[in-house]
């Protein structure tokens, strides 16, 4: 039961963070980042299995391989952006968190331009 391990780590980290936050909030910040990274590292093998499954689905549906890698890159960017902005929001820095989110959105829009162009080409070919 892997989920029991993860929930246990989460609850333990939550208790320790509450304990430390009373006196030293800046050390609680480091502890919450470490918890996030620990849980992510525990799930890394499973994440790669899911990615392999997605790539197999894409290959079966004959999706262009560059488009699949763009989608995976966008998922990575979204995950890192979400991690940064949530840690910042937890520590009360809403202004910085919203700027980090804005940067993530801009980069994702830029990376999805080739896919949008491909959709546009397909639609134009259907029309004309």
């Amino acid at each position: 039961m892997e989920i029991v391990k993860i929930v246990g780590i989460g609850l333990l980290a939550g208790m320790l963070i509450i304990l430390i936050k009373q006196k030293k909030p800046e050390l609680a910040f480091g502890l919450s980042i470490a918890t996030t990274v620990l849980i992510f590292m525990l799930m890394l093998v499973r994440i790669f299995q899911v990615i392999d499954f997605m790539q197999a689905l894409g290959a079966r549906a004959k999706v262009d391989a560059t488009h699949m890698s763009t989608v995976l890159k966008i998922i990575g960017i979204a995950y890192v952006t979400d991690f940064g902005s949530q840690v910042l929001q937890d520590s009360g820095e809403k202004a910085v968190a919203s700027k980090v989110e804005m940067a993530g959105k801009v980069i994702i829009i830029l990376m999805s331009v080739p896919i949008m162009m491909a959709i546009l080409d397909t639609v134009l070919r259907l029309l004309g």
């Binding site: 980290a13 050390l27 470490a34 990274v37 990615i51 998922i75």
Partner: protein
């Protein structure tokens, strides 16, 4: 990356807050702030190492 890293950071936090309160009760404010800064630096060095690992792992998504 093990749960020991987490417990190490939590232990540093608890020790720093305990010794900090001892020092502040003994009337040594500037030593307390230096001690807190030292603990913060140690934790930050560990956290930066962890975040390097994390970002390297996320970058392998787009092999």
């Amino acid at each position: 990356m093990e749960i020991y890293d987490l417990l190490k950071i939590a232990g540093i936090g608890i020790i720093v807050s305990l010794v900090g309160s001892l020092l502040s009760q003994a009337g040594r404010k500037e030593q307390e702030s230096l001690f807190t800064l030292m603990g913060f630096m140690i934790v930050m060095m560990m956290v930066v190492g962890l975040m390097t690992k994390f970002f390297a792992a996320v970058q392998t998504f787009a092999r």
